[in-house]
């Protein structure tokens, strides 16, 4: 698929901007802070209903405005659609497709597919389990949007259960009867059921991603020594789980058993200790874990490879996502720059941002826009 028109209203630094786009490669060039990332962030937002830079929506709305609007015309399988999302911090967001209102904003997921590469991706390798879970869940929703609902249910069950665990913990320590504990079983059952649905999907996703990751890393880091070119990703559940289990019923039973086993701990600490919200991904390079061992350049290549693998996986599902490279070339040496340019050169649509034109490999220049003080002009 590709975007043919992007229009922003009170989004980030843009009061109003209209950018005509086409298939192939487009580069946005401009000095630091002039609004390049803001543009591509908007496209990624349509694909994920989230930002890669912030966890809440408030910073996405232009300072002083109360609502941001992102509009994009997209073409997919030779059919075009107009997507619109209204961001209303503190209130429900709204979405429309071809001018008809969708029941909920999240129903727009699935219309836009994009994969964004950005400097923040380094966090996937270097930072917390939550960064890696976020990566996995966003990819899951891109592949199959109904998981946005599963994830939202799971998060709500978790909040309900954590609140209950705190109250029940107090009740147990105090003298009052523990009515709260009586309902804990109910939330256990729901946590295990919905948790297993999410867990099964994530396990299958990692299985599907693994071969693409191996290939992508070998290509990005073609100059690495032989024992440092094999990258792997494995799913690391929060408890002992037989490796090959993918069946939802079996997973649900395993979760239930573990939840029962940990109940005392959970009551003591007042939080849910078992479930997909405590899981992680293990990334390995050669024999060693990437986190804590890989060099800066290797970590960066690994992050790129994770994104490339995501792109290839989505593409194999049947439709080219929009590929966005936000400020990634400046971080790469000459060899990796050319590798990446060659790999992405065949994508249906590539959007590139860079502070200076020299950072963009020649074959990716294509159409060019200058971004200056939240104004976008074709050159």
């Amino acid at each position: 698929m590709h975007v043919t028109h992007l229009s922003l209203h009170d989004f980030r630094s843009y009061e109003q901007v209209d950018v005509p786009l086409s298939a192939g490669t487009t580069a946005f060039i401009g000095a630091n802070g002039h609004g390049k990332t803001n543009l591509v962030e908007a496209i990624d937002y349509l694909a994920t209903l989230g930002s890669h830079r912030v966890a809440s929506d408030a910073p996405l709305v232009r300072a002083g405005a109360s609502q941001a609007v992102i509009r994009a015309s997209v073409v997919r399988d030779e059919r075009s659609a107009l997507l619109e999302v209204e961001i209303n911090p503190g209130k429900a967001n709204r979405a429309r497709v071809n001018r008809s209102q969708l029941p909920r904003a999240r129903d727009v997921l699935g219309w836009m597919r994009a994969v964004l590469f950005s400097p923040e991706d380094l966090a996937l390798v270097k930072r917390d389990p939550s960064d890696r879970r976020g990566f996995l869940d966003k990819l899951l929703v891109l592949r199959s949007p109904r998981f946005a609902g599963v994830k939202a249910d799971y998060d709500r069950i978790l909040r309900q259960r954590n609140t209950l665990l705190k109250t029940a913990g107090f009740a147990r320590r105090g003298t009052s009867g523990d009515a709260a504990v009586a309902t804990l079983d109910v939330w256990d059952e729901h946590l295990a059921h919905t948790g297993a649905e999410l867990l099964a999907a994530r396990l299958q996703l990692v299985d599907a991603l693994q071969p693409y990751l191996g290939t992508a890393y070998a290509r990005v880091a073609a100059d690495a020594t032989a024992d440092r070119t094999s990258a792997a990703v494995t799913y690391k559940p929060s408890f002992e789980l037989a490796e090959a289990v993918r069946d939802r019923t079996v997973l649900s039973e395993a979760l239930s058993a573990e939840i029962a086993r940990r109940r005392k701990d959970e009551l003591d600490r007042g939080i849910s200790l078992v479930g997909p919200h405590r899981d992680d991904l293990t990334l390995t390079l050669g024999e060693l874990p990437a986190k804590g061992y890989a060099s800066h350049g290797e970590s960066w290549s690994f992050a790129l490879a994770l994104r490339l693998a995501s792109y290839d996986l989505l593409r194999a599902d049947g439709d080219d996502p929009v590929l966005i490279l936000d400020d990634v070339f400046a971080e790469l040496d000459r060899g990796r720059r050319d590798q990446l340019a060659a790999i992405v050169g065949t994508a249906e649509q590539v959007l590139v941002t860079a502070a200076v034109a020299e950072d963009v490999p020649d074959r990716l220049t294509g159409q060019r826009f200058d971004v200056h003080d939240a104004q976008v002009t074709s050159v």
């Binding site: 609902g149 609140t163 109250t167 309902t183 109910v186 939330w187 729901h190």
Partner: protein, 199 residues
């Protein structure tokens, strides 16, 4: 901020469900502009409704006497009991004309975040109503959202040992929704297709 009493009105209106500060202000100024007779009638209805309307001692539905219209109706089938969250859900189910039994209104759904557990709901009263063998089927018609499902799971666990038929509305209701907003046809079909809960 407006002067004393106008601001008081805005504050009071703002406490109503679904009324934000902006709407509260709009309603307040509408009232200030409105015909005094209209406002007096509204004030009277508000007072009378609080004095007259009570909750049915049997089922918890809103009632104008000790028992609600449905519990007092001898033609209703005493062997079937439909458990709902709120009185407004009784109205929704009645609209479908699929159900001829009686109701039990819980007064909400289990939600630890809002501090609501079984003790805050009319669960004890439900168990008392089921103590003799008059009721043979309990239909759990809590909302098709997370808290409604959790409440249904809780009640199922509680009721199963009693040897009753426990059923849940068929799926097909919009997930994540409110029973009261389901249209008659969808809700009616959900009643028709209700299933016994057994695992």
């Amino acid at each position: 901020m407006y002067e004393g009493i106008v601001q008081d009105l805005i504050d009071e209106l703002g406490r109503l469900p679904g009324v934000g500060p902006k709407s509260a202000q709009r309603i307040a100024f509408y009232i200030l502009d409105a015909d005094p007779g209209d406002v007096r009638r509204l004030a009277e209805v508000l007072t009378v409704v609080k004095e007259k309307v009570r909750f049915c001692i049997t089922c918890g539905n809103v009632a104008e006497s000790e028992q609600c219209r449905i519990c007092a109706d001898p033609r209703r089938d005493l062997s079937m009991l439909c458990v709902v969250e709120e009185s407004k859900d009784v109205v929704a189910v009645e609209r479908t004309r699929e159900f001829r039994g009686r109701y039990h209104v819980l007064g909400g759904a289990i939600s630890p975040i809002e501090g609501i557990g079984p003790d805050e709901l009319r669960v004890k009263e439900l168990m008392q109503r089921l103590a003799d063998d008059t009721v043979t089927e309990v239909i759990l018609a809590t909302d098709p959202n997370l808290e409604g499902e959790a409440t249904a799971t809780y009640l199922t666990r509680l009721l199963r040992p009693l040897g009753l038929r426990v059923t849940r509305l068929a799926s097909g209701l919009p997930v994540g929704g409110d029973l009261e907003y389901a249209d008659e046809v969808t809700l009616g079909r959900a009643f028709e297709g209700r299933r016994s809960i057994d695992d």
